[in-house]
């Protein structure tokens, strides 16, 4: 089967864990939804295209950096609580006339985790095989720069290639060459055994109306093991996907 292989380099990047607030924490690798979102954005897909994604990579280290945080909860301005006052207009429900309305914002410093010198090896296999070519072409000639993570996390694309991916039985015990997200159901317990961290990653969402006029994103999640390079090993005889250059592929 055909898939697009991407090699990406990023200098300082945050793949945010959705529940981290005081400190913006980062996943060790971009979660599926982030990759999927990037593809959809650059290709201009207006609706969801189903695709399998494999994410592997490594980074040099992790640092914490300061950033300016604007905290805006849609509340009216209160003196002493907010340090920024913004002016807006609203319609008085009783009289119907337009009046001034002031919202409050808090600006302050906060901390953000950043991965340093990230190299990524990503495989993408759209369900609709015709899209392979489309995605390949757009990634070759993107309409603007690619970013993965925060908007400012520019991705340098080192390689885009259409590759063949096949199922094979591995011939000898194999040590991971990259960190990788490995869906926990992919292998039998003796084919791959690890005590590494398990993440419940977002893959895609559907909009669900919870009350009239209010929609939320309901996420489909994938449980994955954060396989660690040079440590976790696949056992001989395990059945895996490999691309034509012998790279392991862990589609989810």
């Amino acid at each position: 089967m055909k898939a697009i292989r991407l090699r990406i380099y990023q200098n300082l990047v945050n793949y945010r864990k959705p529940t981290s607030f005081q400190l913006k924490e980062t996943y060790p690798l971009p979660p599926y939804s982030t990759v999927s979102g990037m593809i959809h954005f650059v290709c201009g897909f207006e609706e969801y295209k189903e695709m399998d994604i494999s994410v592997q990579g490594k980074y040099y280290s992790k640092v914490n950096d300061l950033y300016t945080r604007y905290e805006f909860a849609g509340t009216s301005y209160e003196n002493g609580r907010h340090n920024i006052k913004i002016k807006s207009r609203e319609i008085n429900k009783k009289t119907g006339e337009e009046i001034d309305k002031y919202y409050g914002i808090i600006r302050g410093v906060a901390t953000c985790e950043l991965l340093v010198d990230v190299e990524l090896l990503i495989h993408i296999k759209p369900k609709d095989e015709e899209l392979v070519e489309v995605i390949y072409e757009t990634l070759k000639n993107p309409k603007e720069y690619l970013s993965l993570g925060r908007r400012e996390d520019i991705a340098r694309i080192d390689e885009v290639k259409i590759v063949n991916v096949d199922e094979v039985e591995i011939e000898e015990d194999t040590t991971l060459e990259y960190d990788a997200y490995i869906p926990i159901k992919m292998f039998g317990i003796d084919d791959f055994n690890s005590n590494a961290t398990v993440y419940n990653l977002n893959k895609k969402y559907e909009k669900v109306e919870v009350k009239k006029g209010t929609f939320i994103r309901q996420w489909e999640k994938v449980k994955v093991i954060h396989g660690v390079m040079n440590r976790n090993e696949l056992a001989q005889e395990a059945v895996v996907y490999k691309d034509e250059d012998e790279n392991l592929v862990f589609f989810a």
């Binding site: 000898e172 015990d173 040590t175 003796d190 055994n193 040079n230 090993e233 001989q236 005889e237």
Partner: protein, 764 residues
């Protein structure tokens, strides 16, 4: 140079020679204990065959070659190292390399995946070494280093090794016991790995794996009949229930030891007791009286070597000592601590558990153990019985809650009715008891000591010294007054022990007063005429009673037990803190039970053996104790220990007792024996003779005693421990404590701190 395939430097032993030794021992084990459960002998044999083949790697061989080259007679034989192509790589432990030699494809046809995991892991983990980060280097060593040597390695017991198989993580990554493993797999692994270790250690130490128990049963029987006895009711029961687990309550003097030996019969056995003194006594009895012989009997506690020295003209028989340590003798008399620490599942715990699985275990005097140790014991019994081991608890007093806990853990056992010593068909009556609701004092004693052997037992050393001082003032010239407790240096302690034993002999007509603490409670075989005691708990009280009218029938109307239960405050040593010698709730319950039993019989009430056991049953029942700290402690400890994951600990981190002790030497003793001590220290440093070293260390230890850590800390805080200490070796430094010490009183704690103002000192 060719690879010499060495396994050990000693005698230049090769891998093949060492492996042959293992196989011999495995055959011996199979011969002696052929029906070991949960074990596939074929897998064990494979483990033995292949476990050390990884040693043929260049780095390991070079290590041995270099060592041998330094030995004169081998220098020429090993002129140079093997060519090492991996100089910038660290040595990979041989245990990790050996599995590569197993003929994987062939084995897969014969064994299931779980069986292969058992085999591979037994070998892979047979030494506990630092975990490998990954197998990349291991693969290189197997393919590029070991591969060079396999053509030259000819061993007729294995087919020639054509290819090595470096890919075996499938069988070792999920370490047994894992959450998905069946109990069957776990049991088999414990047996295979444990026995491989045991066989390997025996082979390395050059000792037999097991010594067959030929005739313990017959010897015990002969001993009994030589005294004109036949097996009694209890002993008959134990003979009939040799293959069962039993919980036996039997009154003292009924022949529990013989009953226990009968139960062990001609099987491997362990006999556990709480105190070293009693262990030594039983050991001597089995060796000399029952004539089972020291070649068949081991003594195992923290001072095994010095006890062996004493009994062998100050010479340590190293082989005998090793055999004892490796648990290979038919009968081992030991402390519980030596056996049950495996419950912490430290690296290598399988050996003890596997050994116990085909042994019989006797537990005596169970009421003496702290709640923690009871919890440890219950967990241990659970693991042992699950693997097929057998146990019998044989005790004079048994708190029933122990049984409740055992049942909760699904431990199966027989529990016959208690065995009482009967005289003319009636339960023996030895004691009449009177209770004083007051703090212990000397008033009654002073009226009652004449022509009697009086034993006073109190709860603390301090109290003992206090009472001693008082009596000495009042009665010094009237009778012999002596003091005995745990704060004596070893040398004096054994002297005192002999003195009290002597006085306690029925045939000795001399009389006098001995004031002691619970050190005499269980271990010493003494028989006094009257007991004055503080109450600790009911079980302790009964133990103490056992020292009076040990085997005599009560004379009509005579009161021989006086118990002080305290008036407004508790007896000494009892409180709500951690240092209380007995749980406060249990003290209260014991006090109530005693008071209720005696009722308003002002002149004392008779108490026979049956009543005694019923009192224990009452106090230590689950209903009464369920709210107490004692109960909670056992319950929590069991839970805590059961939750321990395998291999979380290293063996040296395991500590069964939370009361730490510190060995000290009193200053005046040190001053008096300075020269002797220095001479011995000199010997320790100078000689390389292990035996001499040991003797010298023991000589010094004779002047020491151990005190609880908190007391040591207190002394240190108050300036009684100065900088000096005696350095036996790197790990054993004995501080000198400047508390006053005498043979008469032992170590006494001074009232004042050293730097406090002392009026007397000011006027000297």
């Amino acid at each position: 140079m060719k690879n010499p395939f060495l396994a050990k430097t000693e005698n230049k032993e090769t891998i093949i020679e060492h492996t042959e030794k293992l196989l011999e021992r495995m055959e011996a084990l199979k011969h002696i204990y052929s029906n070991i459960k949960n074990l596939d002998w074929n897998i064990l044999e494979l483990a033995c065959l292949y476990h050390d083949l990884g040693k043929m790697n260049t780095k390991f061989q070079n290590k041995l070659i270099r060592k041998l080259r330094r030995v004169k007679e081998y220098t020429d034989e090993f002129p140079e190292d093997l060519q090492d192509e991996f100089t910038n790589m660290e040595e990979i432990p041989h245990g990790y390399l050996s599995p590569a030699f197993l003929p994987k494809d062939e084995l897969k046809k014969k064994f299931s995946d779980d069986e292969l995991r058992i085999l591979y892991q037994s070998i892979y983990f047979h030494h506990s070494r630092k975990k490998l980060e990954n197998h990349n280097e291991l693969k290189r060593i197997v393919n590029e280093d070991l591969n060079k040597y396999i053509q030259d390695f000819k061993f007729d017991r294995i087919k020639s090794i054509e290819k090595l198989n470096e890919s075996f993580i499938r069988y070792i990554k999920r370490r047994i016991p894992d959450q998905y493993d069946t109990p069957e797999t776990i049991r088999q692994y414990i047996m295979t790995k444990g026995l491989l270790n045991k066989i390997d250690y025996a082979a390395s130490g050059g000792i037999p794996i097991e010594v067959k128990n030929e005739n313990l049963f017959e010897k015990t029987n002969t001993y009994l009949s030589s005294g004109g006895f036949k097996p009694n009711e209890l002993q008959e029961y134990m003979i009939e229930n040799q293959d069962k687990n039993n919980v036996i309550i039997a009154s003292t003097g009924i022949g529990k030891t013989e009953a226990s030996l009968f139960w062990i019969g001609n099987n491997k056995g362990f006999f556990t007791l709480p105190l070293k003194v009693s262990i030594n006594a039983i050991y001597d009895r089995v060796v000399d009286k029952i004539k089972f012989g020291k070649e068949n009997t081991g003594l195992l506690h923290s001072e095994t070597s010095s006890e062996y020295l004493k009994r062998n003209n100050n010479e340590l028989d190293i082989e005998y000592y090793d055999q004892t340590k490796q648990l290979s003798l038919p009968l081992t008399i030991c402390t519980l601590d030596q056996l049950v620490d495996f419950i912490f599942k430290y690296e290598g715990y399988e050996l003890k558990l596997a050994t116990l699985s085909y042994s019989k275990l006797i537990i005596d005097e169970i009421q003496m153990y702290s709640p923690e140790l009871v919890a440890f014991l219950i967990v241990a019994l659970k693991y042992i019985t699950e693997l097929g081991g057998k146990f019998s608890i044989v005790t004079a007093t048994l708190p029933p809650i122990f049984l409740d806990f055992m049942k909760e853990q699904n431990i199966v056992f027989n529990q016959p009715l208690p065995f009482y010593k009967k005289i003319d068909g009636k339960v023996q009556l030895r004691h009449k008891l009177k209770v004083f609701e007051e703090d212990i004092n000397t008033d009654h004693i002073k009226k009652n000591y004449k022509n009697k052997k009086v034993l006073i037992i109190v709860n603390t050393v301090k109290k003992a010294q206090e009472i001693y001082k008082k009596l000495k003032l009042d009665l010094d010239n009237e009778t012999e007054i002596k003091l005995f407790h745990s704060r004596f240096i070893k040398k004096d302690r054994s002297k005192k022990e002999n003195m009290i034993l002597d006085m306690g002999k029925l045939e000795i007509k001399r009389t006098g007063i001995w004031i002691t603490t619970q050190v005499v409670e269980a271990s010493l075989d003494i028989d006094f005429d009257v007991l004055y005691t503080e109450l600790s708990d009911i079980a302790g009280l009964l133990q103490r009673m056992g020292r009076v009218y040990r085997n005599r029938d009560l004379k009509e109307g005579l009161v021989n037990i006086y118990v002080y239960v305290g008036k407004d405050k508790f007896p000494s040593g009892i409180g709500s803190g951690d240092q209380s010698i007995i749980d406060k709730d249990i003290f209260e319950l014991s006090k109530q039970a005693i008071l209720t039993y005696v009722g308003d019989e002002m002149n004392g009430k008779e108490i026979d053996e049956k009543v005694k056991m019923e009192l224990v049953k009452q106090v230590y029942s689950k209903e009464r104790l369920v709210e107490s700290n004692y109960y909670k402690k056992i319950k929590e400890t069991i839970k805590h220990v059961m939750d321990i994951k395998a291999y979380e600990f290293m063996k040296k981190e395991v500590n069964l007792r939370n009361i730490e002790n510190q060995i000290v030497i009193p200053k005046n003793i040190y001053e008096e024996n300075k020269e002797f001590i220095q001479n011995n220290l000199h010997t320790i440093q100078e000689t390389s003779d292990y035996n001499k070293k040991l003797i010298a260390k023991n000589e010094i230890k004779e002047f020491t005693m151990s005190i609880p850590k908190y007391q040591y800390d207190e002394a240190k805080r108050n300036g009684y421990i100065q900088g000096d200490f005696i350095e036996l070796d790197k790990y054993n430094k004995i501080p000198i404590i400047s508390y006053p010490y005498s043979f008469e009183k032992g170590l006494t704690r001074p009232q004042k701190k050293l730097d406090e103002f002392d009026e007397d000192l000011q006027f000297i």
